[in-house]
Amino acid sequence: MKEQENNANNSRRSFLKKGIALGAFSATALAIASFQKDDVDETGEKVKLLSPEGEIVEIDKAYVKPAQDLHLPLDSKKIREGIPNRKFVMVIDLARCKNALNCVSACNKHHHITGKNAWLKVYKMQESKDTAPYWMPSTCQHCDQPACVTVCPVDATFKRRDGLVLVDNERCIGCRFCMAACPYSARVFNWEEPDQGEITMNMDMNMTQHASTPEHAGLPSVKGTVDKCDFCPHAIEKGELPHCVSACPNGVFYFGDKYEDTVTNGDETLRLGKLLEDKAGYRLMEGLNTQPSVFYLPPKERSDDFKDGLDKYKKFQSVEKPEQS
């Protein structure tokens, strides 16, 4: 009997032993398996990229796929001609602007602006000491008689049929005459290699590289060339509003097609003509005859106090440094 018991005990022991060993083994295997990623051979070489969220991330070079030409080639007539039957305009309602600076952040993020001068800036304006101060966001005005285009010696900046004035960073020779000619201080210059990461890419799901195109300015920014607000053709081609327009929490920016006589700020969609008539719209420096495409609605019956915007006002900074992750 004792022997049977012993045998039973022994077999139980050995079963338990085996069971525990098996359990431990499978647990370890599971643990190891769960640490595995997809089956890509990592090269060990890391590259710095700027993610769509505006953060600098480091990933292994193996995950980066080579360039795919998803945009039209640069000298394609279509890029220089633009979208037919459209004329894009923007309306900026100064009565609503509180210097929230969401527009500036969104623009800086989506164009990967890493210099010291933002393309869209909110100015603290006061024409005279007797008139009231107000906040004025200012972009490139995409003038219909653009001085910048007139003076460019190499056709690097051009005016399209749909009203946009864009920059071909592969053609620009960096003479900065366009910057001298622009009365709206709309243009910035890449005085050094832009700090956008080793390979700047418009990272999409598959992390494929997009070729540089005038339709998505800043991707990448090119050393020794000019950059400016492009009215986001990469977005408007998809029927989406430019980033500043969608980012504004106060509905300051309206955008639309002048031929359709309609502009929208994402919430309200209005007839352009009626909006300008009702709210006395005007254009900046109309007397210079540049014929800008940006209309301003005067800061009348403002929703907020001008002083409330002073907290966020930074006289000497318009671009936040991208976060390192």
């Binding site: 525990i20 769960s34 220089r80 051009f158 005016k159």
Partner: protein
């Protein structure tokens, strides 16, 4: 000896627990960090066109709302206790996805003529699983353009397609399609009368490409019927005129459209002056080549 055995057991047991927990640690750790996903769904039906569910996945991470891209959402047709799988949608970079119903016969309504669609996301390493259910009944909008006393009107009727009875208590919106979103014409809400119809004048002078406008009569996001849209294409708009100077010769045009004055006068000057310079250089050669 028994003590030794005991020790061995205890040791092995402790070891296995340690390894097991180490092995599952990352799983536990991930479970602790997983974020909640919120699924939003909207049912949209376009008359004489597609019907679909627009899905949007968002999540609150670090107090910020972000879109969840690249997740698979399975679409079911829920009927009593059954769930019939209809398909899968993967959200794009903006966290949005659209599931199109191939035809209305592919989904079944319950006894109260209500269709229920159930969306499910199984979860992944970063996100917890999520689900969303929406119900709607089928509704029709029959819309057309009429002219009365040389004024354009839109006449539309909202009805139940099966019984052809008007649906009460709803209001329709008339809008015209524009590039970045529709422009509402007239009042935002036009209440339907007892007949289930509305009769709304269309303002004049709406510009459109070649004068063609696409109007939409919309039942917007109703609780019972979702969103129903009827489209009317009518050439009653004012034709747009291209004001751009792109085809003209201007000072800001590309070089193939240089103003004629600049094309002719400077080039004549250049040819004249360089012609003379070439002549002078030839003279140098002549001097060098003169014989005694």
């Amino acid at each position: 000896m028994k003590n030794q055995l005991n020790f061995r057991y205890i040791f092995l047991a402790l070891l296995s627990v340690f390894v097991l927990t180490a092995g599952f640690q990352n799983v536990y750790a991930q479970k602790a960090k997983k974020n909640k996903v919120r699924l939003k769904a909207q049912y949209i039906k376009i008359m004489d066109g597609e019907s679909f569910i627009d899905i949007k996945a968002t999540s609150k991470i670090k107090k910020q709302n972000i879109t969840v891209s690249g997740i698979d959402v399975i679409v079911f047709n829920e009927l009593e206790d059954d769930r019939i799988k209809l398909g899968t949608v993967t959200t794009n970079m903006k966290g949005e996805g659209r599931f199109v119903f191939k035809n209305f016969n592919s989904i079944q309504a319950d006894s109260s003529n209500t269709y229920t669609i159930y969306l499910s996301f199984k979860g992944n390493e970063t996100f917890k699983k999520a689900k969303k259910s929406i119900s709607f009944m089928n509704a029709d909008i029959i819309a057309k353009m009429v002219i009365k006393d040389s004024v354009n009107y839109i006449s539309a009727r909202l009805s139940d397609p099966v019984t052809d009875t008007p649906l009460e208590g709803e209001s329709l919106t008339i809008q015209v399609q524009r590039l970045f979103g529709p422009l509402i014409l007239g009042d935002e809400f036009n209440d339907i009368d007892d007949d289930g119809t509305i009769f709304v004048p269309v303002e004049e002078g709406i510009p459109g490409v070649d004068g063609i406008l696409t109007f939409e009569v919309v039942l917007n996001d109703s609780d019972d019927y979702g969103t129903v849209k009827a489209l009317i294409e009518a050439p009653i708009g004012t034709a747009i005129i291209d004001e751009s100077t792109f085809d003209k010769r201007t000072m800001w045009s590309p070089r193939n459209k240089t103003p004629l004055f600049l094309l002719i006068f400077p080039n004549l000057l250049i040819i004249g002056i360089w012609g003379l310079i070439v002549y002078l250089i030839i003279n140098l050669f002549k001097i060098s080549k003169t014989k005694n």
